[in-house]
């Protein structure tokens, strides 16, 4: 609280790091690459979890829980999968410590070596499909629609709180179906759930699209994704939904008897979203004064600060506020009355601004006399004076207005930062001067994609689902292309 945040224009990366720390969202832990999610940050994550979980259940999914550990041999059963994950996984090799007979210190007991090493799950397809083998015999057992909330570990060399950490929290859906069409429909449905959640709850517009083979999930036939644009004009993948074909069914021999009695391999999907979304939420909306939270995800939606000179004044204000708090809570609005005597109003204002509380109400003696309340919006930093009678209705409407305004602002930002490039020079010029989403023609080859990535650090974020047919030539190879894909530098 003592000094200002770095500004976004000065140093976006430092601004993000400091904001995460000062708004009490999370911090680096003493364990390399792992984070501690602090209570305020976790309460936002809990709101995200609850909203997503409700949506999963409304679409017929149930939660379950599968083991943290995966036998090394399981990982190898799907060839692409092991290729994708073996290089970054934490390996458990022993199950006991002992006192070193020489030094007396605590060391790994060499006698307690595991016969087969265990991997800490980087994702759970393998252990789940090995289980589904026993759960699925007939078409009557399908579809199987399961989700799991869990921690996963991927040994990342460069980590960044929420965006890329060795351990992170996520949910992973794993479904099994009788037909390819049904599995594809599920994959698309869950992409839709993610898009709806990110747009309606996080107030963040997303592009829906398909990944190129290069960027596909290890073991998937098709990876669908949603992509959002951050304020530094980098893209952030906010959720993925994979059509697995019969890849894992074949790797784990999961077959079912169809209505005609024929044995067939099962069709699968998996889909995930993680604490990365916290990073997206922070980076998309916040400003140089701190967090800006969409009301639907704000742990505190309204804070009330009394302006007083003495105990007597405070008592009179508090009496009035008590009724207000009660009325707001009746409408399901989460409200905090900060009557602590330890800090001055100005300090409190800055504190709640930093923490992104959407609406701040202030009441002083003059307000009591005039029957008014001062209303400050976090997102626009505007203030107005309203009558006390009207305030509960006004706050309720204003929360909706703010939710929409944050979304609209992010959408306008994305639109202002989406460009078409028709030549490679133009492409590089946009990338270096402005960044953002660049719509360009691509010849469809991995070679071209990799060359562009090597030379510019831009990747194909997705082939948009709503892309229109448009004849053109690849910005890199000059070969023909029939629609534009979206490039960006990304988190």
């Amino acid at each position: 609280m003592s000094k200002a945040l770095p500004t976004r224009s000065e140093n976006y990366s430092e601004w993000y790091n400091e904001l995460v720390k000062r708004a009490d969202l999370a911090e680096n832990s003493p364990v390399r690459g792992c984070m501690v999610i602090k209570p305020y940050g976790f309460s936002i994550w809990e709101k995200m979890q609850r909203a997503l979980d409700d949506m999963f259940k409304e679409t017929g999914h149930s939660n379950a829980y599968f083991p943290l550990f995966i036998p090394k041999s399981f990982l190898s059963k799907e060839a692409d999968h092991v290729e994708g994950f073996a290089k970054e996984c934490a390996v458990v090799t022993h199950y006991r410590l002992m006192n070193d007979p020489v030094t007396g210190g605590v060391v790994v007991d060499p006698a307690a070596k595991l016969e087969e090493e265990l991997i800490v799950r980087p994702t759970s397809e393998t252990v789940i499909w090995s289980t589904y083998k026993n759960w699925i015999q007939s078409y009557r057992d399908l579809p199987l629609l399961i989700n799991q909330w869990a921690n996963v570990v991927r040994w990342e060399m460069r980590t960044r709180i929420f965006l890329r950490t060795t351990e992170f929290l996520w949910q992973e859906g794993h479904t099994a179906h009788a037909t390819s069409a049904e599995a594809v429909a599920e994959t698309e449905q869950m992409l839709g759930v993610y898009a709806t959640f990110v747009e309606e709850w996080m107030a963040l517009p997303v592009l829906r699209g398909i990944k190129t083979p290069n960027e596909r999930f290890a073991g998937a036939v098709e990876t669908y994704c949603i992509e959002a644009l951050m304020q530094d004009n980098r893209a952030l993948q906010a959720g993925t939904s994979h059509f697995l074909g019969q890849n894992f069914a074949k790797a784990f021999e999961v077959k079912f008897q169809d209505k005609d009695g024929k044995l067939e391999y099962v069709w699968g999907t998996s889909w995930g979203s993680s604490t990365r979304l916290m990073g997206a939420l922070i980076m998309a909306h916040s400003d140089d004064s701190g967090l800006v939270l969409p009301p639907k995800l704000a742990p505190i939606q309204v804070v009330i600060v009394p302006i007083y000179r003495d105990e007597n004044q405070l008592a009179r204000i508090s009496e009035k506020v008590a009724l207000l708090v009660k009325d707001l809570k009746k409408r399901g609005i989460s409200v905090k009355y900060d009557d602590s005597d330890a800090y001055k109003p100005g300090y409190k204002f800055a504190e709640y601004e930093l923490r992104g509380v959407p609406i701040r109400l202030a009441l002083g003696m003059r307000d009591l006399e005039n029957g008014t309340v001062e209303v400050a919006r976090r997102d626009t930093k505007t203030k107005e004076t309203r009558t006390y009678e009207d305030i509960v209705d006004h706050v309720e409407t204003l929360l909706e207005t703010i939710q929409q305004a944050i979304y609209d602002k992010a959408l306008a930002y994305r639109e202002a930062n989406s460009h078409k490039a028709d030549t490679y020079d133009e492409f590089k010029e946009i990338l270096d001067s402005r960044g953002g989403f660049i719509y360009a023609h691509w010849d469809g080859t991995s070679e071209t994609e990799e060359k562009i990535k090597e030379e510019t650090k831009a990747t194909i974020r997705c082939i948009p689902l709503d892309a229109v047919e448009e004849q053109g030539t690849c910005i890199y190879s000059g070969k023909p292309s029939s629609r534009r894909v979206v490039f960006a530098r990304a988190y």
Copy 2:
């Protein structure tokens, strides 16, 4: 479903294992000692989580998240703690796999050895107190009231689903206070929360007590516990709350400046409950026909089964049931209408009995004519016919009646199986013929406690908080004792 469960009297242990499997609660996973919690079992656990989480929040606690991994050296900082956990922890030694250059198989990459091994958390005191060091400077930072929902790993040699598994799910509260008295009050408050939850939600009466030094948590000054009695007359510890004194504050140098500016070590508590509670829930109430679930934790509280001969009859019944379902849902009752054509009513009855659905309603053509509904209670296996108009009110009341009846039955069972023993012979006779809780005098020494355990496998479950002063002599040593403690063989 095809054959009957083993009965409790035949083989209690097999009855439990089969019940867990057939009621679709959980199963052993391909990973040694780890379980898969299946959707039906997990939905019960979710209800338990929600209820406990609400109670934690009502008592001022916030959730947060700390790393899965603990550096080996952290574990050693508290002498008793490492002693208690080092012998059973999973150790991560490497962070990458590679293809074996000779065989081509996937092996641990020897070049990716960690400088310091990481332990998969068996409990999080060490990593949390190492974090609290930075969060606590002044008395104004206290109390710090935090809870975490997480998975933990303890390498158990003999495992049993829900009761003792290598990985399990739990919550662990970790709080920090300015005074010893406040920390003790917190420890006792959280024991009270557990007791209330287990009694009011799980319908299971518990003894509240203190553990002997032998049974104390590794690193605690005092361990409080709640103990429940299962139907095979073994005890099950259903939750523990630890007063940590300044042990972890000293191990991790966590000091605060008090109001007078003096630096003091912080006082701590920790408290936990786990998926073990699922085991207690199953073992305490269920019968030879399957699960018996207290209505407050039943994922489906009411199932409605139509009795019909043809499509036309089904349509008429379904029309009537639709209104009933709507009215029940309006009261917040979770109801399922099973109109599937794949199974006969008798099969469905057995299925829902096995799954412990508290109330089953059946409607046939005669019921339509007479304006009646058949109501069957799972707990008592009794049936009655009620009028259709009255049924929603009746179901609502009956759910409460059943919740209470299950509790009363468990309490009566415990009372019938609690005995006093005044001599060691009497003690052993009760233990071998009946088991249950045995109230006996004990001389207060670890030696006596260990001898009794060695000779009888009975342990001191607790020194009850409500024990009355009573002069007597230790059943083993004959030395004087001023109150009885509770012995039992335990899970």
